[in-house]
């Protein structure tokens, strides 16, 4: 295989968001010689049916992921002092004062978390 052929086939990872409000999501990958081509190819290769509001292409070699071993670092013990479930007793306490406990809904300004 020649050096040049190798350069033609670069892996680009394709990300997209479905609507303006949505977050970017990883889709699939494709082979393209450069980012401009990758973008033009991505549109019809992956979004010829569904609607899409934006597209990113990222050269795979620029992504630093975790190895299978490194993924061990994602594990941790329960840390309930960081989470609401560690404060469940507050509800009963407030009830003693005839008060309602503020939940996520009150704290987020009355909005359900938008999804």
């Amino acid at each position: 295989m020649s050096e040049q052929e190798n350069q033609f086939y670069n892996v680009y990872e394709v990300f997209s968001k479905k609507t303006d409000k949505a977050s970017f999501q990883h889709q699939f990958s494709l082979l393209a010689p450069n980012a401009d081509m990758a973008l033009v190819m991505a549109k019809e290769n992956f979004f010829r049916r569904e609607t899409v509001a934006d597209i990113w292409v990222v050269k795979r070699e620029n992504i630093r992921g975790l190895t299978q071993g490194e993924r061990e670092m994602l594990k941790r013990m329960d840390k309930n002092y960081r989470e609401t479930k560690g404060y469940g007793y507050l509800k009963k306490k407030w009830r003693d004062y005839n008060q309602e406990q503020f939940t996520e809904k009150h704290i987020m300004g009355g909005r359900e978390e938008s999804r």
């Binding site: 190798n6 350069q7 990958s29 049916r49």
Partner: protein, 321 residues
């Protein structure tokens, strides 16, 4: 795995055990995960053949793209053949990522196709001489493909399962496109019905062959068994073929078409379809590149690959901008 022990420190045997535990728990293996060599080679064999079959499968139907008999049919079959190329793209990317640690790329896949080392599905070696064949491919060949693909939707290899999910969603459109063509022919003039019956006669043997031989006896290898052990696939060739019969034979009969196998019937006792088996040495001949259109179609692909070599070279040089 022992808590606190780094994955890299495990022996190969322990890694293998850990791998099998993950698979048996229903976890998905990803491209960068450790995997046994024969898991990797099985996947490469299966997925590169699946991918290249989609690419080669575009060619017989493509013959009918410009000739499709209305503007609507022209658009629909163009979209369908495009999807096949798109499925090839998705699958080859999955295979290429598996090959990367071995130093192989798409270039090698293409060269293996041209040299005959990489085989493609028997059905795409066959002739498609009439519009009836275009209908038959879209209806029954795609129908068979849907059955074997959807069996692997829960494959232990995550990237394959995800690609198949997308592919199967598009196959729903393909199935309806096929049904629309064959129903129009079935309800048409006597000549149109004849197109359909002739095409069924031509394709029946290929459809039986599509799922592969019943057991390793006929082929002398046990890829299917290994793929089941590794949860890459979940059903045997014969189970898939029986599923195909159950799904399609009643429809073929309902349209008043005749299956070119007088012996075919459903056996209530065994709950299996009894049918005339095919000559599996012929199957081997076909997939080895000796089918009626094998070399013509390979030539089309080889020619386009060679003719466009300058384009790939030019764009490789453009990378800097």
């Amino acid at each position: 795995m022992q808590a606190g022990l780094r994955f890299e420190q495990l022996t190969n045997e322990e890694k293998h055990q850990h791998f099998m535990e993950r698979i048996n728990r229903g976890e998905k293996i990803e491209a960068d995960d450790w995997m046994p060599d024969d898991y990797r080679t099985s996947l490469i064999r299966l997925i590169s053949m699946h991918g290249i079959s989609e690419i080669m499968g575009a060619l017989p139907e493509k013959e009918w793209v410009p000739k499709a008999p209305s503007l609507h049919r022209k658009l629909a079959i163009m979209a369908k053949v495009q999807d096949e190329m798109g499925h090839g793209q998705l699958l080859l990317r999955v295979a290429e990522d598996l090959m990367a640690p071995l130093g192989n790329t798409r270039e090698d896949i293409m060269q293996d196709l041209f040299s005959g080392k990489l085989k493609f599905h028997n059905v795409f070696h066959m002739e498609a001489p009439t519009w009836g064949d275009a209908g038959m491919i879209a209806w029954l060949v795609d129908g068979a493909a849907i059955i074997s693909q959807s069996m692997m939707l829960d494959s232990s290899y995550g990237p394959y399962a995800r690609a198949l999910k997308r592919i199967c969603a598009e196959e729903v459109f393909h199935a309806q496109h096929g049904e629309s063509i064959i129903l129009a022919l079935a309800e048409g003039t006597p000549e149109q019905r004849e197109l359909l019956q002739d095409a069924l006669n031509r394709w029946w043997t290929s459809l039986i062959m599509f799922f592969g031989p019943k057991s390793a006896k006929e082929t002398g290898n046990s890829n299917a068994d290994r793929n089941i052990m590794y949860k890459i696939r979940t059903k045997t060739n014969e189970e898939l073929r029986q599923e195909f019969f159950t799904k399609y034979i009643p429809r073929i009969w309902a349209l008043g078409l005749t299956i070119p196998d007088e012996t075919i019937h459903f056996d209530e006792e065994t709950q299996l379809w009894i049918y005339q088996d095919v000559d599996w040495s012929e199957f081997k001949q076909i997939v080895s590149g000796n089918g009626p259109r094998s070399q013509d179609r390979l030539d089309l692909r080889r020619r386009s690959y060679d003719n466009n070599g300058w384009v790939r070279e030019a764009l490789a040089a453009q990378k800097a901008i």
